[in-house]
């Protein structure tokens, strides 16, 4: 019953999306103007219906209604409740439903609160949003219905992939989707502005909070996903250049570029066509990511199912949306008037540089991700990994980071290096000092070396915009910028330190034996069986000590066996200190050699300053939140002042 309700809500939402599209388009014409009033309410109801459908799916998962095919295939009655609920989006259909729900709610939210855009641009925007939603509704209803019933009802479900049975699943996909799909709003704004040709600072100011919101969620989603992969997969790595990671990185790169260009447009009325194009590209990257992941065309842990019909369907959707938007851009971009000019040394120029470099990195990542597909079409099976991605993206990231030290200090429109040069003496000295220090410590390969010295300079340079200002009066968005840029330095330091100074140790130990990894003494105390709600495990008790006189701490890595579906996972145990993380994984039992006694495989890493990678990521997101709060507060203030003026005028009878 609940499943049918959900399906009905989904159909209704799809129908309303069609209505929203038609009414929005007709509302732009003279004769259909009266239809325009219907668009906002329809958008809101459409979002709520999608939410209802999603709630129904969550419900059937929570109660494990096995007569629903999706539940039977992906859930199990013995799972803890939190994983039953999170399992709703741990599969293809459920995650696509989450996608359209977020998209519908996003559109509804825009319709509810966005009042700054001219009404015609707003209509075109909401029509664009409905157009994109409609395709994904069609995809769900035709090619991947989440509410399909199963007869006869099985006695038990197949269970959820144990790698996904983790709290990470509860947070990572929803935040990432909020970011992915939030970019659809920027996309629709860009379409709307192209249709009505109204591109200017007012448009940019209206668009900025939405881009910022989506970007914050993307940043958090990527950071959380990276940390999840780091501790769950037990490989000790935090970024694998897996197609799916690239699929989330590419929209982030485009959104970061968009965020900066939209600021230029809002403050200086420059980079008009460029900003619009980035709006189109950012969401296109989200859709390409979905295509890569959901179609099963690339090998990935995230490829839930391989179904050619689905792949073709998403490919057609992609061609329509991206091709259509780019065609519209090609037709209309020439008619968007030129923006203001600026000198080669100015904040605008620095931001243009940042944009171009981000786009180049985006191109590198996109090309590397798609190359295996191209090669396969030509008959060669290849995979592309860190030896390509790391140096190639660094080639463009390094100049960008250097400019990042200078850019925020420059004035708009025109500036000279002489004015800011004095400020940069300390960062330059820090770069040199860090370089000497790293050489003395030794052992750092080229890329981590560059990363470490840049991080030192950038950490100082990023707070320079606060210099000489009354800190209480610095606007929130400036704080946001400073904190986000500082976060980049922190994260860069963590990444470089992790890849330069990590120490790995692989041993087979008997109970009672001790081994060293970096500054740690690790003693295997015992290995005991333990049991959880739907798994059994072997748990190693490790007693670890930092240095010679450190406190002895216990760590409990497990090798888990799940029975539904039958699968082994290794649960790593992590110990965080201020200067790094000890990472331990329990392997299997090593066959006894000549001597008697069981030996257990252990894989140990000491990763200096690794937690800063994700700490920096969160700082970047925090910077975004502060900027968003600052903008929203300013908008609210403006609205209330306007209202006051209006009511005062009314009182005075004017």
């Amino acid at each position: 019953m609940i499943a049918e309700l959900g399906l009905a809500a989904l159909w209704l939402a799809a129908a309303l999306a069609a209505l929203q599209l038609v009414a929005g388009v007709l509302g732009l014409t003279v004769r259909g103007a009266s239809l325009g009033d219907a668009v906002r309410p329809v958008a809101i109801v459409q979002g709520l219906l999608a939410l209802l459908a999603f709630a129904c799916l969550v419900y059937v998962f929570a109660v494990t209604d096995l007569s629903v095919k999706l539940v039977a295939l992906n859930s199990h009655s013995m799972k803890p409740l939190i994983y039953k609920i999170a399992g709703t989006w741990g599969n293809h259909e459920g995650s696509m439903l989450l996608w359209v729900t977020v998209m519908g709610l996003g559109g509804g939210f825009v319709a509810l609160v966005e009042r700054r855009l001219p009404e015609r641009t707003m209509l075109a925007t909401l029509a664009g949003q409905a157009f994109v939603s409609l395709g994904f509704y069609g995809f769900l209803l035709i090619a991947s219905n989440p509410f399909e019933r199963l007869s006869p009802v099985p006695a038990e479900g197949n269970g959820l992939n144990p790698l996904l049975q983790d709290l990470g699943l509860a947070f990572h996909p929803p935040t990432l989707y909020l970011g992915y799909v939030g970019l659809s709003i920027a996309f629709s704004f860009a379409i709307g502005a192209l249709v009505t040709r109204e591109v200017g600072p007012a448009f940019a100011r209206a668009m900025r909070p939405w881009v910022l919101g989506a970007w914050i969620f993307l940043t958090i989603g990527i950071t959380a996903g990276s940390y999840w992969a780091y501790y769950e997969l037990g490989w000790g790595g935090w970024w694998f250049w897996d197609p799916v990671e690239n699929a989330s990185l590419m929209p982030w790169l485009a959104a970061t570029a968009l965020l900066h260009s939209v600021s230029v447009l809002a403050s200086r009325d420059a980079l008009r066509a460029w900003t619009i194009m980035l709006g189109v590209i950012a969401f296109s990257m989200s859709m390409i990511g979905t295509f890569l992941v959901r179609s099963g065309i690339l090998t990935s842990v995230h490829a839930f199912a391989v179904d050619p019909q689905r792949g073709t369907f998403i490919l057609v959707l992609l061609a329509i949306y991206i091709g259509g938007a780019l065609a519209l851009f090609g037709l209309r971009a020439g008619t968007v008037a030129e923006g203001e000019r600026f000198a080669p040394v100015s904040r605008e120029a620095a931001l243009v540089f940042n944009n171009v470099m981000l786009c180049a990195i985006l191109g590198i990542v996109l090309f590397g991700t798609l190359y295996p597909l191209l090669a396969e079409a030509m008959g060669a099976k290849v995979s592309v990994g860190p030896p390509y991605f790391n140096p190639m993206s660094a080639l463009f990231a390094v100049p960008m980071l250097v400019v990042l030290m200078v850019g925020p200090l420059l004035r708009w429109r025109r500036d000279t290096f002489a004015r800011v040069g004095r400020l940069l003496v300390i960062p330059a000295m820090l770069v040199i000092a860090a370089g000497i220090l790293v050489v003395v410590i030794g052992g750092a390969p080229l890329l981590p070396f560059i990363g470490l010295v840049l991080a030192a300079g950038l950490a100082w340079a990023s707070v320079l915009p606060l210099k000489g200002r009354n800190l209480r009066r610095v606007p929130l968005p400036v704080w946001g910028m400073v904190i986000a840029h500082f976060g980049i330095a922190v994260s860069l330091f963590g990444m470089s330190s992790e890849s330069a100074f990590s120490i790995e140790k692989l041993v087979a130990l008997r109970a009672g034996e001790v081994t060293q990894v970096g500054p740690w003494d690790v003693k295997l105390d015992s290995v005991e069986p333990v049991a959880g709600p739907n798994w059994t495990a072997l748990e190693a008790r490790l007693l670890v000590r930092y240095g010679d006189d450190g406190k002895v701490t216990q760590m409990l890595p497990q090798a888990r066996g799940f029975w539904a579906p039958p699968q082994q996972t290794s649960e790593s145990a992590l110990l965080t200190r201020w200067n790094g993380q000890l990472y331990t994984v329990l392997g299997g039992e090593a066959p006894a050699a000549r001597q008697a006694g069981d030996r257990w495989q252990l894989r140990l890493w000491w990763k200096p300053f690794a937690p800063l990678i994700w700490g920096g990521g969160l700082l970047i997101a925090l910077g975004g939140v502060l900027a968003l709060l600052g903008r929203a507060a300013a908008d609210l203030k403006r609205i209330s002042v306007k209202d006051k003026i209006a009511s005062r005028r009314e009182r005075q009878g004017r």
Binding site: R341, P344, M392
Partner: protein
């Protein structure tokens, strides 16, 4: 200088710079990909045409029955990957994926050593029923049964 540049010209200059950088990025990546992409081999290919010793490649096939041996240190393993026609010895130091057993499919990432032994630094085994390395999919359909039968 900037004062004399017309808005239209500035736009063209910016466009040109962006295009040049993007084209450079694409050309660079095409060049790098040719050198860095890691090719997939089955045992008979790698025996017939071995890759250069320093090149990262992937080797896929079936783990031959009775070939899996653990060295005295407890963490180094030796096994033989076969596709029914050729056999390649593989050495790997690390914790093997739980689904890695004799007779199962495996993709080993690593380099071909000079002595004809493949030095793997990562092993990918069949993760679960939803995740099969794509190369193995074709292979299991076409050859797996035969290979398993032969290697048993």
């Amino acid at each position: 200088m900037a004062g004399t540049v017309k808005a239209k010209h500035q736009r063209l200059v910016l466009l040109a710079i962006a295009l040049v950088v993007l084209v450079a990025a694409v050309l660079l990546s095409a060049w790098a990909l040719r050198n860095q992409a890691s090719y997939f081999y089955v045992p008979s290919d790698i025996v017939a045409r071995p890759p250069e010793p320093d090149r990262a490649v992937r080797l896929g096939g079936m783990v031959e029955k009775g070939s899996l041996k653990t060295a005295a240190d407890g963490v180094t393993i030796h096994f033989v990957v076969s596709d029914g026609k050729a056999h390649v010895p593989v050495v790997f130091r690390g914790i093997v994926p739980s689904l890695f057993v004799e007779g199962s499919g495996v993709v080993a990432e690593g380099k071909m050593g000079t002595s004809g032994t493949f030095v793997a630094d990562n092993l990918l085994a069949k993760h679960d029923e939803n995740y099969v390395p794509r190369e193995m999919q074709n292979m299991t359909r076409a050859q797996a049964k035969q290979v398993v039968a032969e290697t048993q």
